[in-house]
């Protein structure tokens, strides 16, 4: 899923300060799952913004609405009955949602409430960790199912640097050395030889080096 975190309130206050009425839009997908932009966070942010602004004498009306998904136009249409009554929209979706709402409602300023972080997984309750950078050319088949691009601090594709100590990355004791993980797993699978193959220099075009990416399923595309 895509993970995100709420931006500091201070930043959000400045976005909405000029407006009398805003629409705060949550998304019931990824950002709900990572507790950043679901119905509950929408409620918390609306209250927080109102109270923060009240202290400088500003009253703001905040309408709350949470969409099933903010990255699909049909869902975004749901906002239509609400949009005219507001001066601006703040989206609690990932960057995709923010842009899609902005694209749909061209005459309303749209602000992001979240910082979109990464594609990750829940390690446990309340902890999400990066797993994929969407490089467009998956290496996992060669690296024991653990991605060195997303999980090695240096994106090293051919083994650990000299900073790997007791399974941890040199940048922090809290970060696992991806190559230790890869190696442990290859060993466990009896695939040590896999390591000796040199992974050649990567073609970064599918990773976005080739400009904004797009997938077209011709059979489906309208």
């Amino acid at each position: 899923m895509i993970t995100a975190e709420r931006k500091p309130l201070e930043e959000l206050i400045e976005y909405v300060r000029p407006f009398k009425r805003i629409l705060l839009v949550g998304c019931n997908e990824c950002v709900t799952v990572c507790s950043a932009g679901g119905r509950k966070e929408v409620g918390l942010l609306a209250s927080g913004l109102k109270m923060a602004l009240l202290q400088s004498g500003t009253t703001i009306e905040i309408r709350e609405h949470t969409l099933e998904r903010q990255c699909d136009p049909e869902y975004i249409d749901e906002l239509l009955p609400m949009i005219d009554g507001v001066d601006a929209v703040m989206s609690m979706a990932c960057g995709c949602g923010v842009q899609e709402v902005a694209r749909r409602y061209k005459d309303k300023p749209v602000f992001p409430a979240l910082n979109t972080k990464f594609m990750g997984a829940s390690e446990r309750q309340g902890v999400w960790a990066e797993r994929c950078q969407g490089c467009g050319n998956c290496l996992l088949g060669m690296t024991g199912g653990i991605c060195p691009i997303a999980r090695c601090s240096k994106r090293l594709m051919n083994g650990p640097c000299g900073g790997s100590v007791t399974g941890k990355c040199e940048i922090s004791k809290d970060v696992d050395c991806a190559w230790q993980l890869i190696w442990d797993r290859l060993k466990a699978l009896g695939l040590e030889d896999q390591y000796l193959k040199i992974i050649p220099a990567k073609d970064w075009r599918p990773a976005g080096g080739g400009g904004p990416r797009k997938i077209i399923r011709e059979d489906l595309a309208a």
């Binding site: 500091p8 309130l9 509950k40 409620g43 918390l44 209250s47 927080g48 109102k50 109270m51």
Partner: protein
């Protein structure tokens, strides 16, 4: 303003310990500040961050969540989850400008009527010293005056 200030404090009390302790304070006739208003919840872990934030939005000057002692939660660990949630909301209150010191997590056993009363008194005095919540007078403008 400050001399006449009577804070309004919301106490979310878990049924099994804190609310029972409040009843105990009652049956022992332990006097405490009338400023504290109790809302009963089955477990302190039931207290949603939204409930706390809404309490401030509506005009509370202080809020505390009262649960069972560590290890005594009727629901295993609800009180500890409540503690962590309170810490999280405290940070948010700092962001909002209300201040984390207006929110507290307290723990007591069902038999601690005296502690319930003492906490109610202490919290009231603490909030009295802090003065009205920075959003309270404004919340009042928005609606009607609040009496304690």
């Amino acid at each position: 303003m400050m001399e006449n200030f009577e804070p309004v404090i919301v106490a979310f009390c878990c049924h099994y310990c804190a609310y029972t302790a409040a009843d105990m304070a009652g049956s022992q006739r332990l006097e405490y500040s009338p400023n504290v208003k109790i809302i009963r919840v089955p477990c302190s872990g039931k207290v949603d961050a939204i409930h706390i934030i809404k309490a401030f939005e509506k005009g509370a000057d202080g809020v505390y969540v009262a649960g069972c002692l560590d290890g005594d939660c009727h629901f295993k660990n609800g009180n500890n989850r409540a503690s962590r949630r309170v810490e999280y909301v405290q940070k948010y209150l700092d962001e909002i400008g209300i201040g984390s010191e207006r929110l507290e997590m307290v723990k007591m056993s069902a038999g601690m009527g005296y502690l319930f009363a003492q906490i109610a008194i202490d919290m009231t005095e603490k909030i009295r010293k802090l003065g009205p919540s920075p959003v309270r007078p404004l919340a009042m403008q928005a609606s009607q005056p609040i009496a304690c």
